[in-house]
């Protein structure tokens, strides 16, 4: 189980996003910063990871139709897109039997894995962008 303080620290180390910057960019909500000792639910982690991609690195959303295999996708109406984006990109996996389990707490393994996949994704995106820039 990961608490907000740990998640923020991990994100700051890997992506150089401070809490203040995260708030300013709209990556972190006010409620994320209310209780640093609270455990982070997977749906909130999905939002934060998705918004890091979108707002910090400008990685555009992909179509989410394929995420409808998640049986609980529509249980969280405000995080459907966040969950779908991180699920389809392999950043976060379903827990079992196509259940994302958004209200469960994210584990340390899941957090580290998510950040690792984001790292790879950003590296790939940056490489493609550099390649395109070179071609121009």
């Amino acid at each position: 189980m990961i608490i907000y303080e740990e998640l923020f620290k991990f994100i700051a180390e890997h992506f150089e996003i401070s809490v203040e910057e995260g708030r300013a960019l709209g990556i972190y909500d006010a409620q994320d910063c209310m209780d640093m000792s609270a455990s982070v639910e997977r749906r909130h982690a999905a939002r934060i990871f998705h918004l890091i991609l979108l707002k910090k690195y400008g990685v555009k959303d992909i179509a989410i139709d394929a995420a409808s295999v998640l049986l609980d996708l529509y249980d969280c109406r405000v995080c459907v897109n966040h969950i779908a984006q991180v699920y389809l990109r392999g950043i976060m996996e379903a827990r079992l039997d196509n259940i994302f389990d958004g209200r469960a707490a994210i584990t340390a393994y899941e957090m580290k894995r998510a950040v690792s996949v984001i790292d790879e994704l950003i590296a790939t995106t940056t490489a493609v962008t550099d390649e395109l820039t070179a071609m121009i």
């Binding site: 708030r23 909500d29 006010a30 409620q31 209310m34 909130h44 979108l54 249980d75 405000v78």
Partner: protein
């Protein structure tokens, strides 16, 4: 404050299911509003809306002249509050809305526009902030009035009395009756057995000369009425209100099921009723039972939980009054609708208490779960009919994405296909079916789709809530042309206030007006009487393929299906000819009593104003 541990006792009969059809509003809810028009932050910015963005949108409404066309409400959706109450009251999120809501309301009002806000009937908002109205309705009504709010959209997240979004799934215990195996009705013989908590005698032997004791089997003697209740070999279950959040079922007709018994007794008086039941905490099998007997509600509450949903026990004795001869005893659970109505009504009560002169629009947004088309008119001005039209909402710099066709609720055609058969629920004296906010300007919908989307919503008297970043719109561009088509908007805002009815569809069906059709490979013709005696007729290609047939509707059909709603039926029926104005191209022509369109491009529409010529 402490919240109750179960749904409140409903002392006001007006909150009950049996009053849903009486046409009476609650707490002097003001009526005769045309569909609301404006801009809502959700589809454009999701939870990322800010004060600065909102001001930009208000400015853009003026810059684009949209205010002059009727777009007047600027509405903050989720993501604008501080995550917890301050001294029990709502407060603004200080990073995104640093000046507070009163200042923002003043800014918006200063533009001649109106200000709207969002909340939930549950404990939390959908995005998580613990500031839902549940238990704070009166305080919040006062706060909204203080802030100068003109419009409140209220969602259904974290609701305590149903298995709603983010609610405890076990809340279904409140909204479904237990499984019912039998009832025993008795007089003068049963109390002893029940009081001693032994199995009640199930024979019909009388204990004294005037005694009555009869068992009625749910399967053999019961009758299922309404919709949804299921009779198995041993018992009846699924007694409750059908969940309408998804697109699977028709909104027309009864949405709740009951188990009824006809009980004939020799003398009038007080009888004792014992129910043999098994309870659970899931959809289809709950713990809450209502027992109706004549005009009285003899019981309305939780029964003792059973060991599991396959272990049947007898209830305590329930007193009922029966008349001599035949009596109808109803076993039911209408609490899904009644609880939700009560929660929305509490907000309206607050508005009425603190500002009876104020005419605040209430947008009910429980996503069709509790069939609000049955009760929404009592407290609201519109009611959402389904789950969201898109879950891929935009953010600053990203327009988000919408679909024309999708399996779930997330498309123009899914929302349209349900709303189009709901016209009889709408009206100036009721309110409006709400198929969610417009997706015009989002990725995934081309110009043709957006034109037809605008036509559909206008014809169906749906609220016209723009959901795009208006900074992307320039006067005269294709988006502006669609959202500012006055002739189309005039259909939506016509004073007669009649939602269009489907008068024809290419899909084989019994009744195009009421049959719920989910096959999108079709052409519909919908028609809407207008206050000047004319009729608007839209030929709509619902499919994403070109259609090359010939599609017609004649005057006789229009009169037959809409005659009782028309402003001047006789003039229309007896006209020598008809002038047709194409409301998208402006072209005019005159024709006889048959109106025809030859071929429709994929997702396209042709919409005529049909004016009788004397």
């Amino acid at each position: 404050m402490s919240l109750q541990d179960r749904p409140a006792i409903l002392n006001d009969k007006e909150l009950r299911y049996d009053s849903f059809k009486n046409g009476k509003v609650l707490f002097n809810k003001k009526k005769n509003h045309l569909p609301a028009m404006g801009w809502n932050s959700w589809n454009a910015f999701g939870s990322g809306n800010t004060e600065a963005l909102t001001k930009d949108m208000a400015d853009a409404i003026i810059r684009l002249g949209l205010d002059k066309l009727g777009y007047e409400y600027v509405i903050l959706d989720d993501g604008c509050y501080k995550p917890e109450r301050v001294d029990g009251l709502l407060a603004n999120e200080e990073v995104k809305f640093p000046s507070g809501f009163r200042a923002l309301a003043d800014y918006i009002h200063g533009k001649g526009l109106k200000f709207g806000m969002y909340n939930d009937i549950g404990t939390n908002l959908c995005a998580g902030a613990a500031v839902g109205t549940c238990g704070h309705e009166l305080d919040d009504a006062q706060t909204y009035i203080n802030w100068g709010v003109d419009f409140i959209k209220v969602d259904n997240c974290y609701y305590l009395w149903d298995n709603a979004t983010f609610s405890d799934a076990k809340n279904a215990r409140y909204t479904y009756a237990p499984r019912i195996k039998s009832i025993v009705v008795s007089k003068n013989v049963i109390s002893k057995n029940a009081a001693s908590n032994k199995t009640v005698s199930m024979n019909t032997e009388a204990g004294s000369a005037d005694a009555f004791n009869k068992k009625y089997s749910a399967v053999d003697d019961g009758v299922l009425t309404g919709r949804g209740a299921i009779m198995t070999a041993e018992y009846v279950e699924n007694i409750g209100t059908f969940d309408g959040t998804g697109p699977d079922n028709t909104p027309v007709g009864e949405q709740a099921g009951e188990l009824k018994f006809i009980v004939e007794v020799p003398v009038a008086g007080e009888y004792e009723l014992v129910v043999n039941y098994a309870s659970g905490q899931e959809p289809g099998c709950g713990e809450w039972l209502q027992i109706g007997c004549g005009d009285e509600l003899a019981y309305d509450g939780l029964l003792k939980a059973t060991e599991d949903k396959d272990t049947f026990i007898n209830s305590e004795v329930i007193k009922i009054n029966l008349s001599k001869g035949e009596n109808e005893i109803r076993l039911m659970n209408h609490r899904r609708q009644e609880n939700t109505l009560s929660s929305y009504a509490a907000l309206q009560e607050g508005v009425e208490k603190f500002a009876p002169e104020k005419d605040i629009i209430l947008s009910i947004c429980e996503w069709g779960k509790t069939q609000p088309q049955n009760w929404g008119y009592k407290v609201g001005d519109s009611w959402r009919i389904l789950n969201d039209i898109t879950f891929q909402v935009g953010s600053d710099g990203d327009p988000g994405k919408g679909n024309w066709i999708a399996d779930y609720t997330t498309s123009v055609t899914t929302q349209y296909s349900k709303a189009v058969v709901m016209d009889e629920f709408a009206g100036l004296d009721k309110g409006w079916n709400d198929p969610d906010m417009l997706m015009i300007g989002m990725d995934g919908l081309n110009e043709t789709m957006c034109k037809t989307h605008m036509t559909m919503w206008s014809m169906m008297n749906s609220p016209l809530m723009l959901g795009l970043d208006l900074r992307r719109v320039e006067e005269g561009d294709w988006i502006h042309k669609i959202i500012s088509n006055k002739a189309i908007i005039d259909l939506n805002q016509d004073a007669l206030g009649i939602q269009a009815k489907r008068v024809f569809t290419t899909v084989e069906c019994e009744n195009p007006a009421t049959d719920y059709i989910r096959d999108m490979d079709r052409v519909d013709i919908i028609a809407k009487p207008l206050s000047d005696g004319s009729i608007a007729v839209s030929f709509i290609n619902v499919s994403d393929k070109d259609k090359n047939g010939e599609y017609s509707v004649d005057v006789a059909t229009l009169i037959k299906m809409l005659g009782d709603k028309m402003a001047d039926k006789a003039s229309f029926e007896n006209a020598q000819s008809y002038k047709l104005i194409d409301l998208w191209t402006g072209e005019e022509c005159e024709c006889g009593s048959v109106f025809t369109v030859k071929s429709l491009a994929a997702c396209d529409n042709v919409t005529y104003k049909v004016i009788p010529v004397k």
